[in-house]
Symmetry: C2
Subunit: 220 residues, 2 copies
């Protein structure tokens, strides 16, 4: 609670579009860090993230000036600040429900670990057949549990975020189930919009959105 108050006083409310870009800058900074780059100019970040340099500087101005004029931004320092702003400077415990192609892709998505997103449980309606397909995640065996155990395991493992990757027909049912747990937020990757109950924040994520955005740009 104290931490939250501290945070709110430290940073102003930031628009959604800026948050989305901060998330991309963070990815760019991680990539630069992995290449041993110490400093990044706004022009370089702009190029990587497909925005203009003025936008980059404007976005960073929301939380104070970290750049050195003519030098650019300290990669490590900027990364630290963005993580703090986004709230990814601590571990988030995640469950993935529905281990088909998409669920499997998330289980082995290396960047989740880098960013403190820890998948601590995976569920399917047919765990036995799934286990045959998936063997390891980051050197550790993945335990696939039956979806009947969802509520109990979310409680026992302090899971805060549920990611739905079921076929479309099952997605709302899983959102309903998750809404009855202590989960704090839900992401839905199934290709139809679902809703949560009891004011649990839920985001529907569609792959078509990325394509629509590109196609709009190509068409205009």
């Amino acid at each position: 609670m104290n931490e939250k108050v501290h945070k709110m006083s430290k940073y102003p409310k930031i628009p959604g579009a800026t948050i989305r870009r901060l998330s991309n800058y963070l990815k760019a900074l991680e990539d630069l860090e992995s290449k041993n780059e110490k400093v990044a100019s706004s022009a370089l970040l702009a190029e990587i993230c497909n925005v203009n340099a003025a936008q980059v500087r404007k976005d960073f101005a929301y939380f104070g000036e970290f750049g050195i004029r003519g030098m650019g931004y300290n990669v490590k320092e900027l990364k630290f600040h963005i993580k703090e702003i986004l709230g990814v400077n601590r571990e988030w415990r995640i469950a993935v429900i529905g281990i088909g192609n998409m669920g499997s892709a998330l289980l082995v998505y290396k960047d989740f670990l880098k960013q403190n997103y820890k998948i601590v449980a995976a569920f399917d309606i047919d765990p036995v057949s799934v286990i045959g397909r998936i063997s390891e995640r980051m050197g550790k065996p993945v335990e696939i549990l039956h979806v009947d155990m969802l509520k109990e395991v979310i409680k026992a493992r302090n899971i805060e975020i549920g990611i739905i990757t079921t076929p479309p027909g099952a997605a709302q049912q899983i959102a309903d189930l998750l809404s009855e747990t202590e989960i704090k937020g839900i992401l839905n990757f199934a290709p139809l919009p679902v809703r949560s109950h009891g004011n649990i924040p839920l985001r529907n994520i569609f792959f078509t959105a990325a394509l629509d955005n590109l196609v709009y740009y190509l068409s205009n």
Copy 2:
């Protein structure tokens, strides 16, 4: 060319954030249509898409008023207009490169077909082993080609969009290859930022962005 000019004169330039929301409204409308709903209120669309109703009305005001006061929007008509604005009222021919979990998920993603996104080629560095895993897409066998054939097939099949779903280590190399073709735009789902050449629009899409956005909301 004429079509483009016509389009630009018909609709004003629309901000990126509105385009993202239009894409979500389109998904919501498709879902409502599949449930035989004829009319949708701004409040309903707002609820499904996780925005407020005033935002919905403001977004639609960019391209004229389609709603009937006190009645809501005609689902079919609104869908038609959004598709026209986004540029998804015609077929877009797509290649997917890298048929692991994520690539396989896209090959069977039912919504691509609904929205005129047609995957007409799939490539992998080891097509033989991939074919064992993937049998059918929408009743039709998927042909997985060796990535060596990329340039030739993109030309022969008039492919306009390339989607990169390779492991991170191969993604830039594929973006380089695609940049040497007639491709019009590139989406990268590999978990690191890559760049195109020759002014080909490229979007890096990270799953962490969806999580970052949710976590920011949960943290503030």
